[in-house]
């Protein structure tokens, strides 16, 4: 019988709040964090983004960093979120703890600002090495002195969800007793232009699962969960369990999802299997719901294939935007908040259902009994991951 995986702490920093409480308050009041670029320097002033209204200086000050630090924005956000998670879980000793971090943008925010001047001007060269995602992870781990087991997963929008999955496995197999899992990603011109060039970026606020949806809006965030084995979680408050997980490849296209959502379907099926649950046990689905024409239709089809009776579902990307590698983590936090407070957060900006599927998400805050939550994160490269979180009974 494999060991259970308890969540004993969480931390989050997103466009709807700089900690758990602020995020929760925004969710229950329907207060989204989409706005127009102020900190990100871009020509695309008309594209809504889920921007955290703190400059890098603000963030560095909050962490008491040295003036010559080489923390890129994702590292700053990640460190702050991790601080909250560790405090939450009352972890002080890091000797045996593992850290699995999801990240895709790495230090691209600094690279795109400074790389043209690196050759002529030495001032910002300390950011050269900060470009790659592994460095971001090491910065965050280094701040706390975590060096037992540290790794980075970079699988696009499913990175953090895959980090949760790996953490759960490390505990279940007895390889580790404590693991911090999650992810961080920040806004950049690189990704804003990229998604815009794929013509899937919306000029309006995101409308997940709506028939008139026009595409996604990017966001930035960081979130972490502290996972512990039953023994280690014994005298702590358990926020929930990672009871199921599944990952599968859609094997269809580099960036688009297959018509019948095969990868999504397989991932959800595996998650239910590992959790020993039937579809009707799921009380709420936190969907991937990016609001692109392709994902929402494909995901809807996969949901219909699995669930004869559709549980309540919503996409919280309507609050935060799509935070890429961090998405799986902030949505894991929202799923656990749903379990803690026995409530379902609304899918904002929804008016009419997709005619093909006629699925309607929850559009207003709902108080209801929740025992099991399914959370989806599907990334480019066909990487599909589903997680199941369950209440501590």
């Amino acid at each position: 019988m494999s060991r259970s995986v308890a969540v004993t702490g969480m931390g989050i920093f997103s466009a709807i709040g700089k900690n758990l409480e602020e995020n929760h308050r925004s969710l229950i009041h329907g207060k989204h964090g989409l706005s127009y670029p102020e900190i990100l320097e871009t020509v695309h002033q008309n594209l809504p983004i889920g921007e955290i209204k703190s400059t890098n200086s603000d963030l560095a000050d909050a962490l008491n960093l040295d003036k010559n630090h080489a923390f890129t924005r994702a590292a700053l956000l990640g460190t702050i979120a991790l601080k909250e998670a560790l405090q939450n879980a009352k972890i002080e000793d890091f000797i045996n703890i593992g850290f699995v971090n999801g990240n895709s943008v790495g230090g691209m925010d600094m690279t795109e600002r400074f790389y043209r001047e690196y050759e002529s001007n030495p001032a910002n060269r300390r950011f050269i090495q900060a470009q790659h995602p592994g460095f971001t992870t090491e910065q965050i781990a280094g701040y706390f002195g975590i060096d037992n087991y540290v790794t980075t997963i970079s699988t696009a929008c499913s990175s953090a969800a895959n980090a949760v999955m790996l953490g759960a496995r490390l505990i279940q197999s007895g390889r580790l007793d404590q693991v911090i899992v999650g992810g961080t990603d920040c806004l950049s011109r690189f990704t804003l232009n990229g998604f815009n060039s794929l013509m899937i970026y919306s000029e309006d606020f995101p409308k997940p699962f709506d028939s008139e949806r026009k595409g996604l809006n990017l966001g930035e965030a960081a979130a972490y969960l502290v996972l512990e084995s039953a023994d280690f979680a014994k005298n702590k408050e358990v926020l929930g369990y990672v009871s199921g997980y599944g990952n599968a490849n859609d094997a269809f296209h580099q960036t688009a999802s297959s018509e019948n959502g095969e990868g999504a379907y397989l991932a959800m099926q595996k998650a239910l299997e590992t959790a020993n649950l039937n579809p009707h046990h799921i009380d709420y689905i936190n969907a991937h719901g990016t609001a692109t024409q392709n994902n929402d239709l494909s995901e809807s089809r996969a949901l219909i294939r699995i669930f004869k009776e559709m549980p309540a579902f919503s996409s919280t990307k309507s609050f935060t935007g799509h935070t890429l590698a961090a998405a799986g983590a902030i949505e894991a936090v929202f799923s656990l908040l749903a379990i803690k407070h026995q409530q379902i957060y609304p899918n904002l900006n929804f008016n009419s259902a997709i005619s093909d599927t006629r699925l309607r998400p929850v559009t207003e805050l709902k108080s209801t009994k929740i025992q099991h939550v399914l959370s989806n994160s599907f990334g480019f490269g066909g990487n599909c991951t589903s997680l199941i979180f369950s209440k501590d009974e």
């Binding site: 060039s197 794929l198 013509m199 296209h253 580099q254 960036t255 688009a256």
Partner: protein, 85 residues
């Protein structure tokens, strides 16, 4: 066949990495997508970039692209009618 037709074929071969293909291999009325040249959705987006970069035509609805990019002939006709470069 005009210069534009040839120009388009050469651009497409280069822009879309159609290795081992020559201008003479592409027929003017051959379907570019699906069975013909086998281009996919990302290729369609690259063609939209090509329209703006080389001919100054800005296409905002990707779905319209499918009609325009049906064949070299269709593309050339559309460009002649709308080019600003």
């Amino acid at each position: 066949m005009t210069d534009l037709h040839t120009e388009l074929k050469a651009s497409i071969i280069e822009q879309l990495n159609l290795e081992d293909m020559e201008v003479s291999d592409i027929e003017n009325d051959e379907p570019l997508f699906g069975d013909g040249l086998g281009l996919d959705s990302i290729d369609a987006l690259e063609l939209i970039v090509l329209l703006e970069k080389d001919y100054g035509i800005k296409l905002t609805d990707p779905k319209k692209g499918r009609e325009i990019f049906e064949s070299i002939n269709k593309m050339a006709d559309f460009i002649e009618a709308n080019r600003t470069k």
